[in-house]
Every structure is written in C-alpha cells, then in structure tokens.
C-alpha cells in the first residue's frame, strides 16, 4: 500500500477501516496520509478524518522538533563539539522525504563519549532531567549502554536520548562512532548541529532495527530504510560507499540482515553484489532463513488484532535475541533476572495496594 497508494482507489468502508487500523498500529498513519495525498487518492470523508488528524499531528511534531533542535544547539553550542542528530530528528531537519508525515516520540543525538559529562550537565542547566529514577537502571545505562538514561525536558516534556555510540558497549559488533562523526556534515542555520552521511543514516536505521527487542515500530523503520535507499541509491557510487561504511564499522552482518528484511517487505531494489559482499564479510551473525522468518512474524504481529502462539513466540525470540546481541550471556541472565524480579515485586506491591 505504501509503495502503490493507487491500489486503494477501489476500497470500500471496511477495507479503509482495516487499513487505518493497521497503519495506526504500525505507526505509519501519517506517512500513509502523505503518500495517499501525493498520489491524489481520496479516502472518503470518514477515513480521511483519521488521515487528516495524523497529518496535523506530524506537522505539529515536526515544528516542535525544529524548536527542540534550536534549543539543543543553544544549550550545547558553546561546547564546540559535534552534535549529530539521529533517526527521526535527522530526517525531519534535513528535509528528507522520509520524514514526511512521520510520527515519533523522542529526539536522538550522538556526541563524542569524552564530552558526555559536559553535555549532561549543560543539558541539565537547560532544563533536561533524567527520566529514569531507579538506581539500578541508572547504573545499568551508565555502565553498559550506548546512551545516557533518557532525559525529559521539565517544561516541554519532550524526551531526549543522548548517545555516545550506536550500539551498547557490550554488543557483539563494535562500531566506531568517530567514523560516523567524521563523515557527518553541518546543518545550515545551526552552530554545532550535524547529520550523519546518507550511508550512515541508513546503516544506523538498520542497526537499530535488528538490535531492537520489540518490533512494534518494525514496519515503520523498514519503510524509512526502503525510502532512504531508493532515494540515496540514485547518487553514483552510493552502494560502494555504503558497503565500505558497513564493513569498516563492523556492521556488515546486521546490515545484510536488515537489507534482506527491507527487500522482503518493501521489495527494495538492492544489487545482489551488495548482499554477497556484506554476507562474505559479516561476522558472527549469519542471516539464516529461520531467523528471517522469526522477524517477519514478529513485524507482522504488530499489525494484527488477534494474537497467535507463533507470533508470541516470534516476539519473545526477537526480545531474547536483542539481549543476546547486546551483551554476553552471563550479563544477560543477570540483567533479565533483576528486571523480572523488579517487575514481580512491583506487581505484588500493586496487588496489595488495591
């Protein structure tokens, strides 16, 4: 439907209902609204209300992202360090078509690890506070993760994720954030804000997707990937640079897997030489057929009303795999047990109170 909006022309009310429902569950309602709009497909007054609502919301979110980025630039500009916008914020600020109609919850930035302390204290002065209160979570983030605990702005309530690299420090792959920073480019109208190179934008989006523990935004992320690849690959030499960056940053395995998922869901045109090159150098993660089937099931589950055992199993496998990729198994068992214990304590506590 995203690739061929015109196929919705003959839809009846029931089909529009189902489409709006699935698009909302997969967080693609705004994107779909834009696609239908530019294809000149009218959804009829009832469904259109939902598309119009999503379009207004995404317009409003984009405006507030722009405002937040200006605030970040003002808060961190004095540090004279590169500040990279990642994912949604990068798409919107760079004006890339992938941002059109996109809805998202938080802003992600990447800064050099050495500046993390300065960045955090500057952000706190500007009204951002750490949203995680649990001491265990604070420790866990700071010791093992690739980002600070999420920060929330006191007045505006917006959520900010400050990354110093793109994967947890304990992950099996060890990408070098310095490479991404070196390849990034400055944004006009800002003092220190930058966005990653087109290659790194896609690579990060893919890496994020295949390391993620929950797939409820899986289809949206694959759509981002498909949309960027179709656009960027028009520039001569893109695929060579792309493979170079993925291999050079120890991400050939996950990128190869993500590309095959994009091709599966969106028919993304990817030269087979690219997949061959990536899979021959990919280390540690061979994209087996069953793993792909698990992800396909978990991604599809996000759009489904009724749950099945295979979907639940697929979701669980993706969750466990994400932890397995993120950390050595001894640490994973320790972490998941502590999390389960805390959850159990909380559920017993709330049952006693009520």
């Amino acid at each position: 439907m995203l690739g061929d909006p015109c196929s919705a022309r003959q839809f009846d009310a029931e089909q529009w209902s189902a489409l709006v429902n699935i698009a909302r569950r997969t967080n693609l309602l705004g994107v779909l609204a834009e696609r239908l709009n530019s294809a000149g497909v009218s959804a009829g007054p009832l469904a259109n209300r939902h598309f119009e609502g999503a379009r207004q919301l995404s317009e409003r979110q984009h405006r507030s992202v722009l405002w937040e980025v200006h605030q970040l630039d003002a808060a961190l500009g004095h540090l004279q360090i590169p500040i990279l916008l990642l994912k949604g914020a990068a798409y919107v600020i760079s004006g890339h078509v992938v941002g059109k109609g996109r809805l998202f919850g938080d802003i992600d930035i990447l800064v050099p690890r050495a500046s993390l302390g300065d960045v955090e204290s500057r952000l706190m002065l500007a009204g951002w506070v750490s949203a995680t209160t649990s001491a265990y979570d604070q420790r866990y983030y700071r010791k093992w993760m690739h980002e600070l605990p999420p920060m929330t702005h006191l007045r505006r309530g917006t959520v900010l994720d400050v990354h110093h690299t793109i994967l947890p420090l304990t992950a099996r792959n060890a990408p070098d954030p310095k490479q991404i920073i070196d390849r990034s480019s400055y944004l006009p109208n800002f003092s220190m804000m930058r966005i990653p190179s087109p290659e790194d934008l896609v690579i990060h989006s893919i890496t994020h997707l295949v390391h993620e523990g929950e797939m409820h935004n899986g289809l949206r992320d694959l759509n981002d990937i498909d949309c960027m690849l179709r656009r960027f690959s028009l520039v001569p030499g893109f695929w060579d640079r792309f493979v170079g960056c993925a291999v050079g940053n120890d991400l050939a395995g996950p990128v190869c897997f993500g590309l095959s998922l994009a091709r599966r869901f969106f028919g993304t045109p990817i030269p087979s030489a690219v997949l061959t090159q990536l899979s021959s150098t990919g280390r540690g993660q061979q994209t087996t057929r069953w793993l792909e089937a698990v992800y396909v099931r978990a991604i599809e589950a996000a759009g489904e009303d009724h749950r099945s055992i295979t979907m639940d199993l697929a979701k669980w496998l993706v969750y466990v795999r994400s932890h397995w990729l993120r950390m050595p198994w001894t640490l994973m068992i320790q972490h998941l047990s502590i999390k389960a214990w805390v959850r159990w304590r909380a559920s017993v506590g709330s049952a006693r109170e009520s």
Binding site: S17, N21, R25, R49, H50, E52, G53, Q56, R60, S354
Partner: protein, 286 residues
C-alpha cells in the same frame, strides 16, 4: 456477549463486551442510536473486558481496550459501565481526528450553540441537564465540545449526561429525567448518568455555530450575577480546557480564534438551577 457498531455521532464505535453491566448500560442509554451496517467504517474499536488471570475472580477488575490495546489501568469490576463512558471520552479526546475537542457542555437551538466550558464543580452538567430536559435545547454534549476546523461548526456528540455527587439528586428531581444506576466510590465520587433526550439523539446530524460562551459558577446561596468578558480572556480560559489544541498546532489555534470571533462571552454566578436557567435565558434572549 455483545458485538455491535453504534453510531454515536460523529463516530462509529464498535463495542465488544461480555460484561452484563456494560450490556445493560448500552441497552438503557444507547437503545435509540443508529446501528452501523456490516462493513461500515469504524472510528473506535472498543472492548470492555474482565480482568486478566486471577483478577477475574479475586477482587475482579475490568479493562478498556482500544484497537486491542490497553491504554490505561483497570478499574474495579463494579465500575465497568462508567469505564466504558470514560474510555470513550478518552478515545475522542486523544485520537487525532482533525477535530478540536474541548471540555465543555454544548447545547443548541436553531443552529445557534451555547457553550459552557467545564471547570470542576462549576455546575455545568446540572445546567446542561436542565436546559435539555426542561427546555427545548438540543444537547450536543455535556462534556466534549467537538469543533470541525474546516467548517467552523460544532459536531453533536450526544451521550448520557455524567452527573456527580449532589447533582445526581438535583437531576433526579427533574420530571423528564431517566437515570441509570448510581456508582459509589469512583475516582470522581458517586456518579450516575442521565439519558440524553431522544430528540437530541435524533438531531445528532444537525451541526451548530457557537453564538454564546458562558462560564458558569455555582455558589450556594449566591445572588445571581452576569458579567460580559472579553474574547481574549475567554480564549485563554478555553485553551486550558482543550484536550488537543496543542497537538493540532496552527489548525487548532485558527479554529479556536474563528469560533470565538462569532461569540459573545459571559461569566455567570448562580445559587440555584432556576437562577442559572434565568441568567442563560437572559443571555440567549429566550
């Protein structure tokens, strides 16, 4: 088990529930509402279900699901019918639908609407009930005023009137009132619902333009008082009572300005329902 599509203007709501209290509530309050034909467009797909696991039997709970997702905490099973109403309010206020939704009572006569923004304890619901049950006002909504930015017109959203604490007794005394069960110990105290007049349900396709905005304030024993207030002041007061103006950005701002530009705004203080009706009558020229 009930599985039906109700046309609660301007929305189609699919309701599924196995809970007897919810089924009774729907039969009592929504009997005269149009049913959606098979294959109609669904705005909200709602389920009211029993608690999970042990919570089915042990201190039973009730859950509200929109599109299969549970968006807020369960409530004690005895509150399943109020949970349906609160849940549906939440759907209307939170789902981006291109409408500006405000917390206000809304009534109309001959296409001219009277809007009463809701501040807790202001006596808005009682006045709403009195105006539609004892006079010839069409009830558009007692809580959710829905503005379509495209046309600048208010959309009727007739639902049972939600009454709290003392206003339950006041409205019970109205001869035309038809009240459902009383629910004790909810997070809003004791609550009950009064049925929306059949004529207002039948007129749910008739939209209206806001002509008067009245901020009511009930003060026991007060001398009736009416004061005209500026549109600018009213703008800021209504902004506070809007659920989604921020999220609608420029469209929401413009819609609210447009609505206010055609309205006269008043603040009234009254000590009894009769005084309140008299003041509203003076303002609206009836």
């Amino acid at each position: 088990m009930i599985d039906t599509v109700l046309h609660i203007a301007p929305f189609n709501v699919r309701v599924r529930s196995p809970i007897a209290a919810v089924i009774r509530h729907l039969e009592f309050f929504y009997e005269g509402y149009r049913r959606g034909e098979p294959g109609s467009f669904i705005d909200f797909d709602v389920q009211v279900l029993q608690g999970k696991g042990l919570r089915r039997w042990w201190r039973p709970q009730v859950r509200f699901l929109l599109d299969g997702m549970e968006s807020f905490y369960p409530l004690p099973a005895a509150q399943s019918a109020p949970l349906f109403e609160w849940g549906l309010n939440w759907c209307v206020a939170n789902r981006p639908l291109g409408y500006l939704v405000m917390h206000a009572g809304l009534l109309a006569r001959a296409g001219q609407a009277l809007m009463m923004p809701g501040f807790p304890g202001a006596g808005k619901s009682t006045l709403c009930a009195a105006l539609c049950l004892m006079q010839d006002w069409q009830l558009l909504s007692d809580e959710l005023a829905i503005l379509d930015p495209g046309s600048g017109l208010m959309q009727p959203h007739p639902r049972p009137i939600s009454l709290k604490n003392a206003s339950v007794d006041v409205v019970t005394a109205f001869p035309q009132a038809r009240l459902g069960p009383l629910y004790h110990d909810t997070r809003k105290g004791s609550i009950s619902h009064a049925a929306c007049p059949a004529s207002s349900v039948a007129a749910a396709g008739t939209v209206a333009r806001v002509r008067w905005i009245v901020l009511p304030r009930f003060v026991a024993g007060a001398v009736p008082h009416c004061e005209k207030i500026s549109r600018a002041e009213t703008f800021s007061l209504i902004s506070e009572q809007s659920f989604n103006k921020e999220r609608m950005g420029e469209v929401g701002f413009d819609a609210l300005c447009g609505m206010l530009s055609g309205a006269d705004c008043y603040q009234i203080v009254f000590g009894s329902t009769a005084d309140g009706l008299k003041l509203i009558g003076d303002i609206t020229g009836s």
